[in-house]
């Protein structure tokens, strides 16, 4: 998938530069781009690690597991095929809480465990049941307390207020999540 996209981007830039006469700029850009990537990584590194470090403190203190308990009643409503206290739902809440805190590395193993547990009692076998679809839909939306990468990127681009967009991101991501859940619900009723 990414191979096609990457090929498409490079081919498009070549033909576009050919038509618009930007070949000189393109040649410079190709060499600048690689350099820019490393500069970007370096300028993001500090802020990113500050947040992953802080979130680790919260995680070690048990915030993830107590927040997971808070969410489990809501999640049980969205995924009615599984019992609130089942191993599947425990993994689901752990995954969603870790995502919320921006602990991406911790979230993925919980998510994979959740899928494994849910598949065990999935009566459809070869296709996901409604709860599994809901779970993945929630994972394609990103509700995050501190969107660390975005803040780090804005800081790297010398923003005066790198964090001023936090409330906007919260509102937008919650709206997008709600839209995803509603749409999935609608599509599932229709079939």
């Amino acid at each position: 998938m990414l191979s096609y996209l990457w090929f498409g981007m490079i081919a498009a830039s070549f033909f576009c530069a050919l038509c618009t006469g930007h070949m000189e700029q393109l040649s410079k850009a190709a060499l600048d781009g690689a350099d820019r990537a490393i500069q970007l990584l370096l300028s993001m590194a500090g802020v990113m690690c500050l947040w992953t470090g802080l979130m680790k403190i919260a995680d070690k203190g048990g915030l993830t597991s107590s927040a997971a308990k808070l969410f489990s009643p809501v999640l049980a409503k969205l995924m009615p095929d599984y019992d609130k206290d089942s191993p599947a739902m425990r993994a689901v809440s752990a995954n969603i809480t870790a995502n919320l805190l921006g602990l991406g590395n911790a979230a993925t193993p919980f998510g994979l465990a959740a899928m494994r547990e849910m598949q065990k009692t999935n009566s459809l076998r070869t296709s996901p049941n409604n709860s599994m679809v809901m779970f993945v839909i929630i994972n394609t939306a990103s509700v995050q307390l501190i969107p660390t990468t975005i803040a780090a990127l804005r800081q790297a681009a010398s923003s005066i207020q790198p964090y001023s967009i936090l409330p906007h991101i919260w509102i937008t991501s919650v709206l997008t999540l709600a839209a995803g859940i509603l749409l999935a619900g609608l599509f599932m009723i229709k079939r």
Partner: protein, 172 residues
């Protein structure tokens, strides 16, 4: 709204450190542990970021984005989206590193605190790499049929672009 952004950072930092101290966490060890994970995450995205930042920089220099932006201007005007953020919207569900590269290009070109820069930041921060999540999660249990997951998630992503634009315009 900007005031919220100013207070939130010191508040969250103090809150986390207090919480950790209250729960008797070995604060500094936990912090360095997490920071190390951050470094590992950065190193693991470095190769793809180099490839994709190069491709995005080339596309930008070739004038491709200007053409795309101008073509989509009328549709975007109806929806209230700045057309300059559209390439990011198309990239977001497909690749995480690619959309960071794209966001970086937009922030450098239009300024991080401009309307376009803010809209792009909100867009990039409020949705996940949809194709990645769907492939990894369903793939892990061997499910090829994903029913309505992709149509629902991608429609939500498109709506997300509109929500982001509205949100930034309503609360500048």
């Amino acid at each position: 709204m900007n005031q919220v952004g100013i207070y939130i950072i010191p508040f969250v930092i103090v809150l986390i450190v207090l919480y950790g101290a209250f729960k008797k966490v070995d604060l500094f060890a936990a912090f360095t542990d997490g920071a190390k994970e951050g470094i590992h995450a950065l190193i693991s995205i470095a190769p793809s970021l180099i490839g994709l930042v190069t491709a995005v920089t080339m596309l930008e220099a070739s004038g491709f984005f200007d053409i795309l932006t101008n073509c989509c201007r009328p549709v975007c005007a109806v929806l209230g989206i700045p057309p300059e953020v559209l390439p990011l919207g198309l990239m977001r569900p497909v690749t995480g590193s690619g959309s960071f590269a794209m966001l970086n290009a937009i922030l450098e070109k239009f300024g991080a605190d401009s309307l376009i820069g803010k809209t792009a930041s909100v867009m990039a921060g409020s949705t996940e790499t949809t194709f990645y999540a769907v492939t990894v999660y369903f793939g892990s249990v061997g499910l090829k049929n994903t029913r309505c997951t992709l149509p629902a998630a991608l429609t939500a992503d498109m709506l997300g672009i509109v929500f982001a634009a509205w949100c930034v315009r309503c609360f500048p």
